[in-house]
Amino acid sequence: MKSDSGPADGIGTGTSGQDRPPVVGSPILVVDDIEWNRALIGTLLEEAGYTDVSYAVDGADALEKIAQRTPDLVILDIMMPGLDGFEVLRRLRANPDYDGLPVLVQTALSGVEDRNRAFDAGTTDLVTKPLDRAELLARVSIHLENRTLIRHLQQYRDRLEGELLMARGIFEHLLPQANALAAQEAATGLTIRSHMLRSSELGGDIWGTIRTEDGRIGVYLLDMAGQGVSAALNVCRLHSLIHECSGLAVDPAGFLAELNRQARDLMTLGEHAKMIFGIVSPESGVFSYACAGASNPVLLPPHGAAPVFGDAAGLPLGLQEDAVYEQRELPFSPGSALLLHSNAIFDAIDKTEAGNTKTYLAELLVSAQATTDRDGAFRAIAGTLDSVVGDPPDDDHTLVWLSH
């Protein structure tokens, strides 16, 4: 297909691509103090199909016209009485409103120095006088097309940024809200804290609490495979699923098995989520949990004893219809704390020279435990791990902290 969007005779369409945007309607301002020159350029442009050509008779007139309505291209004469072309350029380039406005300077300047001076002042491109029709039209169309493409990209980017920001707001709302957490803390006597760093605008990690039917508190941390928008969409689906199935939460292994069954129908081949879900029973001093390939829960016993890493093996959700999950327990006596985390820490520490991740994490937890208040301990751990995973991290990074 021949593009009919460029100048009518097809001269100087810049590139032969069919994806070039239509530019014949783009506003062009011709600045020249000699009427004959303005008429010549105007005729050439109109013959080539351009429909929106206006004129300025000198530098001051040009600045005024541009201020009234910014054109998509300025064709500027250099030698003019009063404000010359150099001055017009300098003033345009000093104003950020005109960033990216292409200025095509028509000049008889043939010396390299003069041409460089024009470029230094902010010229986008030059056309030599006497004007050659084909050259003029080629340069006009290429600069108008570039201008239009960049504008399209900018508009696309702005729209996408706005959409992502709104989506992020929705996503944030899925996470436990402060007042709900405070109520659960009051009811259970536990301290619940979390910390999250995302690798992109939208994340694939989510955590939350569930009040079980027998009045205990369940905590989950879910890490969706992949990143960005697609992971976030899947997180939203699983978040709904988790809360629909929350009646089963009294039995962590059975709960994961049901989530897995339903997740398999929701997700396409290869999509999966790692998840840990556990119930805290402050009275009996036990954290009973089940894992679908999540990271090991870490128990920090009271009195500075060494941290205990719970087993976390299990098939991620969404891969095998009849996956069975194992119920496991960690002691959770008064004075203990429990850390759940996504696997970003493991992957990040693997890359450093810190050596074995569990050793590293254990040392960090023990040193943080020396802090007198538990909030301080969590802040210290989160701060140190932030510097390990980086901000933004390569993968979404989430910590959930429960202290008894």
């Binding site: 290869g270 999966h272 790692k274 990271s295 098939l315 991620p316 891969l319 696997n343 890359k351």
Partner: protein, 104 residues
């Protein structure tokens, strides 16, 4: 941080794919191309040698599962071999041995 790359060597009834670098979200197109090559390769057994693979993320695991499914649809066997370090840990924690043949 090197992107994933691979070489394919055909031996008897097996095709051996040696994977290097880091297999992540960003390698989607390349892994898609590899799966296509494995699907059209006549060998019944497609071995993925992970000995030189440094890292795999969850999206990479997802793509390996897609490979397994598509190969099994064509009655081809898909085997992961020699995983070490982080790659081995990820395969183990996710118990992927239940879904894909994993050999030392």
């Amino acid at each position: 941080m090197s992107e994933m790359d691979y070489t394919i060597e055909n031996k008897d009834q097996e095709a051996q794919v040696r994977m290097t670098g880091r297999l992540t979200f960003n390698d989607h197109a390349k892994l898609r191309a590899l799966i296509k090559e494995m699907l059209s390769n006549p060998a019944k057994r497609q071995i993925l040698d992970l000995g030189a693979l440094e890292f795999v993320d969850s999206a990479g695991i997802g793509m390996l599962l897609i490979a397994r499914e598509e190969l099994s649809n064509l009655d081809k066997q898909f085997v992961l071999r020699k995983a070490t370090g982080q790659v081995k840990r990820v395969l183990t924690v996710a118990q992927l041995g239940k879904l894909i043949t994993i050999e030392e």
